[in-house]
C-alpha cells in the first residue's frame, strides 16, 4: 500500500499538487493508519482519532500545493498532525477554564473492550502522563522519523532532539506500569 521508493512518493505528491484526486486519495489511504496511530499516541483518546485525522488530511489537501519539496512529504504531514493535535489539546485546556467541568469529566476512561491488553493500556496511561511535546517526540520516533527530520519538524537542533528524547523515554519508562489499573 505504502510507496516505499522515495521517487514513487515524490511522483504521487507532485500529481496530488496538480489536483489529481486519485493521487490525493492514494496519499490519504497510504497514510491514514499511521496518522491515526500518531493522533492516538498524542491524545490517548480513541474517540478523537477519526475527527483529528480528518482535520490533518483536510489541511494536507488544502496546503499540499505549497509543499516545495515533495520528498519531504512525510515530515511535512507529521508536522501538520503534531500541530493539529497540540492545537486540540490547547483548545481542550482553554475550554476547561470556561466550562464548569473538571478534568475528570473530559478524560472519561475508554469504554470496556476498547482497550484490549494490559500493555496497550499501560502505554496509553504512561503517554498521558507526558507533556504533549514529549508524546509527539516519541510518536515521531515510532513513525521512523530520523533525529534530523524530527529536529526539522520541531524547528530545533538535533542535539536538543536527542536530549529531549532521552528525557521523554525515561519519563515514559517511569510511568509505564503494565499492571496499572485505571
Amino acid at each position: 500500500m505504502e510507496p516505499t521508493l522515495p521517487n514513487a512518493l515524490a511522483d504521487l505528491v507532485r500529481r496530488a499538487q496538480r489536483g489529481d484526486e486519485v493521487a490525493l486519495r492514494e496519499l490519504i489511504v497510504n497514510y491514514q493508519h499511521r496518522v491515526a496511530g500518531f493522533v492516538y499516541a498524542m491524545t490517548s483518546r480513541s474517540d478523537y482519532v477519526e475527527d483529528l485525522a480528518q482535520q490533518v488530511f483536510i489541511k494536507m489537501v488544502r496546503a499540499i500545493d505549497r509543499l516545495h519539496e515533495p520528498a519531504q512529504f512525510e515530515s511535512w504531514l507529521f508536522r501538520l498532525a503534531r500541530n493539529t493535535c497540540i492545537d486540540q489539546l490547547r483548545r481542550q485546556k482553554l475550554r476547561r477554564i470556561f466550562l464548569p467541568f473538571g478534568e475528570e469529566h473530559e478524560n472519561i476512561p475508554e469504554p470496556p473492550g476498547a482497550v484490549d491488553t494490559e500493555e496497550l493500556d499501560a502505554l496509553r496511561h504512561a503517554l498521558a502522563q507526558l507533556r504533549p511535546q514529549d508524546r509527539a517526540l516519541l510518536a515521531l520516533v515510532q513513525e521512523g522519523r530520523s533525529h534530523a527530520e524530527i529536529a526539522e519538524i520541531l524547528s530545533t537542533s538535533v542535539a536538543a532532539v536527542k536530549a529531549r528524547l532521552h528525557r521523554a523515554r525515561e519519563h515514559l519508562r517511569e510511568h509505564y506500569q503494565p499492571h496499572h489499573e485505571n
Partner: protein
C-alpha cells in the same frame, strides 16, 4: 517455633498473597519499558477507529470547506458592528423616552398641585 517467628512467617505469607499473578514478569516488563508490540497495538487500535470510506469523506469535506475571504470577514465584522450600534441606539432611545415620560408625568403632577394651591389661595 517461637511465636515471634510464626508472626513474621504469617506476615510474609499475607504480604505474598497481595502480589498479583506473574508478578516477576510484570516487574520485568515495567522495567523494560513499552515494547514495540505495545506501540503496534496502539497503531492497530487507532486504525480501527477510522470508519470505512475515510479517504472519500476527507476529500468531500476538503471540497466543501470554504475559507471566508478577507473581504467576507471584514463585511461580517462591519455587519456585526452595525447591528450592535443599532441595538445600542434603540435601547438608549427607548430608555430615554421612558425617562422623559416619567419626568413629564412628574411635572404634570407638580403643575396640577401648583394650580390647586393657587386656586386655594
Amino acid at each position: 517455633m517461637k511465636t515471634e517467628d510464626q508472626a513474621w512467617q504469617a506476615l510474609r505469607q499475607h504480604a505474598a498473597k497481595q502480589l498479583p499473578g506473574d508478578f516477576a514478569g510484570r516487574v520485568l516488563r515495567a522495567a523494560a519499558g513499552p515494547q514495540p508490540e505495545a506501540w503496534h497495538q496502539l497503531q492497530v487500535q487507532a486504525s480501527a477507529q477510522l470508519r470505512p470510506g475515510f479517504a472519500e469523506r476527507v476529500l468531500r469535506a476538503a471540497r466543501d470547506f470554504n475559507v471566508p475571504s478577507l473581504f467576507n470577514q471584514f463585511a461580517l465584522g462591519a455587519v456585526t458592528v452595525a447591528v450592535c450600534l443599532v441595538a445600542v441606539v434603540a435601547v438608549h432611545s427607548r430608555s430615554a423616552r421612558v425617562d422623559e415620560q416619567i419626568a413629564l408625568a412628574g411635572w404634570k403632577q407638580l403643575a396640577m398641585e401648583a394650580q390647586e394651591i393657587d386656586a386655594g389661595l
